[in-house]
């Protein structure tokens, strides 16, 4: 299977483990990712607060480049990038908008390429039987809270799953042998977009997500987004201070947990690069012993 890949700015930066584990898992599963040549930042989280046309034009250049290179499907690992790219794809279905955007980017854009969230590609596009056949190290005993964040499931025009109770990652976790916990903060915002301008408000939101995962009995949280992850991982200590409560929740990318279940090395997946120590919990799953 071949897909275009739009890595976004964080995959070589704060989301480096996500990039490493995505590559390793894709190779193992025989999925071929071709990075969109010379892609640019999609403009989230600022362009849409300044000018609607700009917020469509920035991702539209990437869509036009994908078309030029014959990439019909574009996998996007970051939830914020996904939402912006998908919103542009939807906006381009309207003929006058397509013309106007074409004039702005000075490129031909037909809006043919489909934007897909990476988590969709690694779940919906994979045969369930095939997936269970390649799991060599089931994550049995691991209680996981699947955290989807907001932008993959809202608003309705771009949503990959239910905005209130998505299950796509829970099902993946079950297929890997882990136990998904039920909890009500799956799609509650972690405040990532306010982290710089309103750090206190943002921390309050992050802390709530972490608290309710802990209270639901989870050992760890799994996410499909580098912004959610860096927020929940990097600010967890500050959240513990705010809550007056010990959390100790490793935050995994779904690709890291897939990689472990497929038998890949932890260091190859970037699991040693976390703020909250992330390897011990996985070494201690019953299947590993």
């Amino acid at each position: 299977m071949k897909y275009g890949l739009y890595p976004g700015c964080s995959l070589n930066g704060t989301g480096i483990e996500y990039g490493l584990s995505t590559k390793a898992v894709a190779q193992k599963l025989g999925i071929d990712f071709v990075e969109i040549p010379d892609w640019n930042c999609c403009g989230a989280s600022s362009a849409h607060n300044r000018d609607h046309l700009l917020s469509v034009a920035l991702p539209a250049r990437n869509l036009a480049l994908a078309e030029q290179h014959g990439l019909d499907q574009i996998a996007v690992p970051c939830a914020a990038c996904y939402q912006r790219m998908k919103a542009a794809e939807v906006a381009l279905r309207d003929e006058p908008t397509r013309r106007e955007v074409g004039e702005v980017i000075e490129m031909k854009v037909e809006g043919k390429s489909r934007t897909r969230a990476l988590v969709e590609v690694f779940t919906n596009d994979l045969d369930a039987e095939f997936l269970s056949s390649v799991v060599v190290r089931p994550l049995s005993g691991l209680k996981v809270a699947s955290y989807y964040g907001c932008l993959l499931v809202k608003p309705a025009q771009v949503a990959i799953d239910s905005p209130e109770n998505p299950m796509i990652m829970d099902k993946l976790m079950a297929a890997l042998g882990a136990t998904p916990v039920e909890w009500s903060y799956k799609t509650e915002c972690c405040g990532g977009s306010l982290a710089i301008t309103r750090p206190e408000a943002s921390l309050g939101m992050t802390a709530n997500v972490l608290k309710y995962a802990k209270l639901a009995g989870a050992d760890c949280i799994v996410t499909p987004c580098p912004l959610c992850t860096s927020n929940l991982d990097m600010r967890q200590k500050a959240a513990e201070g705010l809550l007056g409560m010990e959390l100790g929740l490793p935050i995994y990318y779904f690709t890291e947990l897939m990689g472990v279940a497929l038998g890949l090395e932890m260091s190859q997946l970037g699991l040693t690069k976390h703020f909250v120590e992330a390897t011990s919990l996985l070494k201690n799953t019953p299947a590993a012993q």
Partner: protein
């Protein structure tokens, strides 16, 4: 806010509501003030006026007050309100529209948010990418406050998560063109 003569403000602010409808697709007259949007808003605790209250302000003609409100900048853009609104008002789009209009009217109350957007977009305009380190460093200097994450910087560097130098795309000219063309379509000014 003191007492307000609503009969006057409503009539004189009809232009603004028409613009919200035409340019942003947001019809505030659809809102029947049920409050479902604010009830589920994760940022409501940080707002002086919740999204439902700001909708009411615009319905009743308090346009200036809504544009210069600090609360519209506490909105995280999570879209929860829009997915839950029983009247398809799209409150998240409404808040976004107010932020755009506040900028145009020179009424941005949250200077940090304004600075953040400036720095973010200038990074994209100049290099085609967001350079996290450069943006945060400049934000700290220009806002006169040290962004809390400075304490995480050493860890991020040793993990190879931050690079000091910005990445640049090859065709930076394409970025300059996009920004210039948008400006042109807006009649010269941004």
């Amino acid at each position: 806010m003191g007492p307000i003569q609503l009969s006057m403000t409503v009539a004189s602010s009809q232009d603004f509501r028409d613009r919200l409808k035409q340019e942003y697709g947001v019809d505030v007259s659809l809102c029947y003030q049920c409050g479902k949007c604010s009830a589920g808003c994760p940022a409501a605790f940080a707002m002086e006026h919740t999204v439902r209250q700001i909708l009411r302000m615009v319905q009743s003609g308090l346009v200036q007050e809504s544009l210069s409100s600090y609360s519209i900048w506490a909105c995280a853009g999570c879209e929860t309100c829009s997915t839950r609104c029983p009247r398809q008002v799209e409150p998240a789009k409404f808040m976004e529209a107010l932020r755009i209009e506040a900028k145009k009217a020179g009424l941005v109350a949250d200077k940090n948010a304004d600075l953040f957007n400036d720095l973010f977009l200038s990074s994209v305009k100049d290099t085609g990418r967001l350079h996290e380190v450069g943006m945060i460093a400049r934000f700290n200097i220009l806002s006169g406050q040290l962004f809390k994450d400075a304490e995480h910087a050493p860890g991020l560097f040793t993990q190879g998560k931050l690079s000091i130098l910005p990445h640049k795309i090859k065709n930076t000219e394409a970025m300059a063109k996009i920004f210039a063309n948008v400006q042109k379509k807006r009649g010269g000014k941004s």
